[in-house]
């Protein structure tokens, strides 16, 4: 749907790498161009008209994100450079000062590097323990299985909403309820879900949530950290500098601004935030119910079709989100990706930044198709046709 909004689709390409980044609709691109051609100025600075306009758009996006997540207050929305930055803020700005040696953090082996490495670093630094919740035979996390690893020492559970590999959708509402009853902080990596399905941080009892604009039709280099107000009050900035202080003196006395500005030192990615606002408007105009329905339909269609090809292994048939992992039997996934690229079909080959998954899946690398609102059944038909004809793969890739 809405293919006409995407300039990139006017080229002869089939774009199936939406978990990596999505294409951008014209309205998002225009919003950024307008900032650079009609009202360039810094935010939080000027007494002149264009600066005021920038302020209004920048803070207006904060309000939009608040509504988008159903947060209680706009003070709970911090702009960051992306999910990675947001999660690092939670780990090194919050967990570092609110956890003590022996405390436990629970993650899973299907998490993205950004939700693993910061925790491993903090474990070395602080002496906390990182534990992995068990996954079922389809590599999905069952809510009740979390109880198998939760102990009185568990302080944080940090999970992807939708995993970027297997594509399982975690039951955030059920998990949030369970954690709230046990006074455990709930951190959510929503990089793969924010542009695909509705999130309600209050209903889901989420304490911190991170996402990136570029995986939901927005620009790269911009993201969000949501944190409950009382928790952001306990978080310390990672960056110090302009824009986040009230005053400072040579004797060392200083006072910082209140949340969320406290966490936004230096000139922010203004074009990015404006673009994010436009992306939210764009997605909400289509409606998340529609997007979800479309992806589900495409996914089922893709799995059906792939299953008819004899030499294809599909590795996550039983997942729900629009990610499909597959391999051509006996062919290294990178060769498959290069082969498909020859026919202008963009897929990703690799471990998809989830390097712990190999311990569970037994294979290190796969090809990944990740679908989005503008993909079509016709595109899937072309992919299937190309895969069916892959006997000549080495004539193409060598």
């Amino acid at each position: 749907m809405n293919r006409e909004d995407f300039e990139m689709l006017k080229q002869d390409i089939i774009y199936f790498d939406n978990s990596a980044t999505t294409l951008k609709p014209k309205s998002v691109v225009d919003s950024i161009t307008d900032y650079y051609t009609k009202f360039t100025s810094n935010a939080h600075r000027g007494d002149y008209k264009t600066s005021l306009k920038v302020d209004t758009l920048y803070e207006g996006t904060r309000d939009k994100v608040k509504d988008f997540l159903n947060a209680e207050s706009s003070n709970e929305i911090v702009f960051t450079s992306g999910t990675t930055n947001s999660l690092n803020m939670v780990v090194f700005g919050f967990a570092k000062y609110n956890l003590k040696p022996g405390d436990e953090v629970i993650i899973t082996k299907t998490e993205h590097a950004s939700n693993v490495l910061p925790w491993l670093e903090l474990a070395d630094e602080l002496g906390i323990r990182i534990k992995y919740a068990p996954l079922d035979e389809n590599l999905k996390l069952r809510t009740e299985d979390l109880l198998k690893v939760i102990t009185p020492n568990t302080k944080i559970v940090s999970l992807a909403h939708v995993t970027n590999t297997v594509g399982d959708i975690r039951d955030l509402e059920g998990i949030g309820k369970m954690l709230k009853e046990r006074n455990i902080y709930f951190v959510v990596d929503a990089a793969q879900s924010a542009g695909h399905r509705k999130i309600d941080v209050q209903k889901m009892n989420i304490d911190f949530l991170a996402f990136s604009a570029h995986k939901m039709c927005g620009p790269t280099g911009t993201g969000v950290l949501y944190g409950k107000e009382k928790l952001l009050e306990k978080m310390r900035p990672i960056n110090y500098g302009g824009g986040m202080n009230n005053f400072f003196e040579s004797d060392g006395s200083r006072e910082y601004k209140s949340i969320p500005t406290l966490f936004e030192a230096g000139t922010q990615n203004i074009e990015g935030v404006i673009g994010l606002g436009a992306a939210i408007d764009y997605l909400e105009a289509i409606g998340f119910d529609e997007i979800e329905k479309h992806e589900k339909e495409l996914r089922d269609y893709l799995i059906d079709k792939l299953s008819t090809i004899e030499n294809i292994d599909v590795l996550n048939k039983n997942s729900e989100a629009g990610n499909v992992l597959f391999n051509i039997k006996g062919i290294f996934p990178q060769d498959t990706a290069i082969y498909l690229d020859h026919y202008n079909i963009c897929v990703r080959a690799g471990n998809h930044c989830a390097k712990l998954l190999k311990e569970e899946l037994g294979i290190k690398n796969t090809c990944r198709i990740s679908l989005y609102l503008y993909n079509t059944k016709e595109e899937i038909d072309k992919l299937i046709e190309t895969l069916k004809n892959s006997k000549n793969i080495f004539e193409v890739v060598i």
């Binding site: 290294f332 996934p333 990178q334 060769d335 290069i338 690229d341 080959a349 690799g350 471990n351 290190k364 690398n365 080495f394 004539e395 890739v397 060598i398």
Partner: protein, 143 residues
Amino acid sequence: MEKELRREIILDNYQNPYNKKTIEDSSYIKINTNNESCIDNLDIYFKVEGGFIKDAGFNGEACAISTSATSIMLRGLIGKSISEVKELLKNYINMINEKEYDQDLLKELNVYDEIYLQPNRKNCALLPARAVEKMLKEIENAG
């Protein structure tokens, strides 16, 4: 080189790579090549004695170009002196990067003389070269 012959040599080295096995002998230098931009991950083993490459092998997962290039290069390195290895390496890297090189010196490695036409595959062809570079550095540091 003729396209068919080129493909045949590459494919043969991919499907029947030279000395592809794990070598657990401490007299070998082990080099891991793990490239983030592509997903190839190979361990390469070199036995160096008296300034000569006595033996080499490799194991791991990699694409057709990386695997075949490693196979061809390792076979070509066995029996060569360190200075000959350096000369071969320089010429190989030059070829991949479209610079001047000595065609006679590279022998079978000439099958990659047109890899620059697929820029996203240059790193694949360079994978064994990076490993040899690391190996040379280790020898230098040790010596």
